[in-house]
C-alpha cells in the first residue's frame, strides 16, 4: 500500500439481478488528487460512487478509505449529483449547513465555516437568499459548498455540471479548481464530457461498457492553474484525442 493513497479499492464488483454493473475493480487514489472517470452510459460509474458512499454493498472486494474499512457504512464522503438537491425552505446558509443539521445541531462554528466558504467563493451576497432566487450555476455552487461543509476529505461528484450551459460550465470548472486547490480535498469526478475531464484532472480513468472495467488510466500533466489557454494547447488536444479513442474503441466504433 502506498502511503499517499487516501482510497484503495481491491476487487470491487457488483451485479444487479442479471446485469453485472462492475467487474472486479482495483483502484488507488492519491490524497489531494483530482481524478475524473469517463465511460459510456450504464457502465457502472454511479454504481461505483454508490458503493464508495456506502449506499449499496459490493458483492466482493474491499475498500479502505483513510485506512478504514468503509464497506456499507455511510457518512464518510462528500457527495454531489447533477441535481443540486437544495431544499427550497432554507436559505443559502441553511443549505450549506444542511449536513450538520441532518446529523444533529448546527453550531456557531458550522455557521461560521459556511459563511466563510460562501464569502470566499462568490456567494457572500446571497447567504440569506432562498434557492429559488438563484441561477443554476449559483445553485450548484451552493450544493458544492454544502458538500465541502461536511468536512470529508474525499468528494464524489457525479456529473455535477451536467445540466449547465457551456459558458456557465466553464466558469464553474475554473471555480471548482480554485476551491479544490484551496481546500486540498481529494476529488473523484464523473463526467460525460471529455474536455471537462482532461481540463480538470490530474488523472483520467476511462471505463469500458458494462460490465465496467477501467481500460485506461491517463496522467494529465498539464500545468496548473489551468485556463482558457490550456484548452487550446497541443498537449490538451493530444490527451483528449487519446481519451476519445479509448472511449470509442471500447464502444466498438
Amino acid at each position: 500500500m502506498s502511503s499517499s493513497s487516501i482510497l484503495e479499492l481491491r476487487g470491487i464488483s457488483k451485479t444487479f439481478a442479471s446485469t453485472t454493473a462492475l467487474s472486479p475493480l482495483d483502484l488507488d487514489i492519491e490524497r489531494g488528487s483530482f481524478v475524473s472517470i469517463v465511460g459510456p452510459s450504464g457502465c457502472g460509474k454511479s454504481t461505483l460512487f454508490n458503493i464508495l458512499s456506502g449506499l449499496i454493498q459490493p458483492d466482493n472486494g474491499s475498500i479502505s478509505l483513510e485506512d478504514q474499512n468503509v464497506i456499507g457504512a455511510t457518512g464518510h464522503v462528500g457527495y454531489m449529483l447533477q441535481k443540486d438537491l437544495l431544499v427550497p425552505w432554507r436559505t443559502v446558509l441553511g443549505n450549506i449547513t444542511l449536513g450538520a443539521r441532518l446529523k444533529g445541531k448546527v453550531g456557531p462554528e458550522d455557521k461560521e465555516q459556511a459563511m466563510g466558504f460562501a464569502q470566499k467563493y462568490g456567494l457572500g451576497e446571497f447567504l440569506h437568499h432562498y434557492p429559488s432566487a438563484l441561477s443554476g450555476g449559483m445553485r450548484q455552487r451552493v450544493a458544492l459548498m454544502r458538500t465541502l461543509a461536511t468536512n470529508h476529505q474525499l468528494l464524489l461528484l457525479d456529473e455535477p455540471f451536467g445540466a449547465l450551459d457551456a459558458q456557465t460550465r466553464f466558469e464553474m470548472q475554473q471555480w471548482l479548481l480554485q476551491v479544490w486547490r484551496d481546500t486540498q480535498r481529494t476529488v473523484l469526478f464523473i463526467t460525460h464530457d471529455v474536455d471537462e475531464a482532461v481540463f480538470l484532472s490530474d488523472r483520467v480513468l476511462v471505463m469500458s461498457p458494462r460490465p465496467g472495467r477501467v481500460v485506461d488510466d491517463l496522467r494529465v500533466d498539464l500545468p496548473r492553474p489551468r485556463t482558457l489557454d490550456t484548452l487550446v494547447s497541443p498537449a490538451f488536444t493530444d490527451l483528449k484525442s487519446r481519451v476519445l479513442h479509448q472511449l470509442h474503441r471500447e464502444r466498438g466504433a
Binding site: 449506499l55 455511510t74 457518512g75 464522503v77 457527495y79 438537491l85 431544499v87 441532518l102 446529523k103
Partner: protein
C-alpha cells in the same frame, strides 16, 4: 410582495363582497321580492346586530366547536398521514377504513353521535374533526410520498438517521401539501359544527336559533344567521391562510427576513 399586489389582495375580496351584496339588494328591491322570502342585505345584517346579546354566546359556542374540532381533526389527520407513509402495511389496513368514514353521510352520522355523546360540545367537535381530518391525511400522505428520493439518498450519504431525515427533510417538504389539506378542512369545519347543532334538537345554538326564526317567518333573522355562520367560516379560513403565509416565507420572498442583528447579509468586497 409589492404594495400594489398587497392592495389588490385586500381590496379585491372586499370589492367582490360589496358587489355581491349590491346585487342582492338590487334583486330584492327591483324584483319586488316579498320580505318574508328575502330581506334586503342591510336588514339581514341588522337582524344580527340588534339581537347580538342573544347571538353572541351562541356564536361563541359555534366558534369553539369549530376550533376544537378543527384542531383535533388537523392533528389526527397529520398523524394518520405520517403513519400511512411510514408503515406501508397500514395503507392496506387503514385506507379502506378512512374511505369508509367519509362514505357515511355526515348528516346521518350526527344523530347517533348526539345519542352517544349528549347535547354538549362533544358531538360537534367529533363531527368537525371527522370532516377535517380526511383532507389533511390525504394531503400529508401525498406530500410525504413525493419527497425527492435523491434528496433522501443524499441525506443517508451524509450519515443522517431516519429520525433526522424525517424532521429535517420530510416534514418541511410536506408542509405546502399539509396546508392545502388544512385549507380544504377549514372551509368545511363550520358546516360540521352546524350539522352537529341541528342534530341536537335541544339546547341553544346558532342552528336552532335559525330554525326558530324560520318557524316564525323571520326572513331577516334566517338570512342574518346564515351570514353570521358564513363569516365564521371565512374568518377561520383566512386565519389558516395567514398561518400558511407565516409558515412558508420561501414561497413569496427571495431572501429570509433577518430577526437578529448581526445576521445581516454580509457583502463581499472584492
Amino acid at each position: 410582495m409589492t404594495k400594489k399586489k398587497l392592495l389588490l389582495n385586500i381590496f379585491g375580496p372586499i370589492l367582490s363582497v360589496v358587489v355581491l351584496l349590491g346585487l342582492w339588494q338590487a334583486i330584492v328591491v327591483w324584483g319586488n321580492v316579498a320580505p318574508y322570502i328575502a330581506p334586503k342585505p342591510w336588514d339581514a345584517i341588522r337582524a344580527v346586530t340588534s339581537n347580538w346579546s342573544t347571538l353572541a354566546p351562541l356564536t361563541w359556542w359555534t366558534i369553539k366547536e369549530t376550533i376544537y374540532g378543527y384542531l383535533v381533526g388537523a392533528f389526527l389527520g397529520a398523524f394518520l398521514g405520517v403513519v400511512l407513509n411510514k408503515i406501508p402495511l397500514m395503507q392496506r389496513v387503514l385506507y379502506p377504513l378512512l374511505i369508509l368514514t367519509q362514505a357515511i353521510p355526515i348528516i346521518a352520522l350526527a344523530p347517533p353521535l348526539v345519542m352517544i355523546l349528549g347535547f354538549g360540545v362533544m358531538p360537534k367537535v367529533v363531527i368537525v374533526a371527522w370532516i377535517v381530518f380526511f383532507p389533511v391525511t390525504v394531503s400529508v400522505l401525498d406530500g410525504l410520498n413525493h419527497v425527492d428520493k435523491d434528496l433522501m439518498t443524499l441525506a443517508k450519504v451524509f450519515g443522517a438517521n431516519s429520525m433526522r431525515r424525517f424532521v429535517v427533510l420530510e416534514m418541511p417538504a410536506a408542509i405546502t401539501q399539509l396546508f392545502s389539506g388544512l385549507k380544504i378542512g377549514a372551509t368545511y369545519a363550520v358546516t360540521g359544527a352546524i350539522i352537529g347543532e341541528l342534530a341536537a334538537s335541544s339546547g341553544s345554538s346558532l342552528a336552532l336559533y335559525q330554525r326558530s326564526a324560520s318557524g316564525s317567518l323571520d326572513a331577516a333573522g334566517v338570512y342574518g344567521t346564515t351570514l353570521l355562520m358564513t363569516a365564521i367560516g371565512i374568518i377561520w379560513f383566512l386565519l389558516v391562510v395567514g398561518a400558511e403565509y407565516l409558515a412558508t416565507p420561501w414561497q413569496r420572498r427571495s431572501t429570509a427576513r433577518q430577526w437578529r442583528r448581526g445576521a445581516k447579509p454580509v457583502l463581499t468586497n472584492n
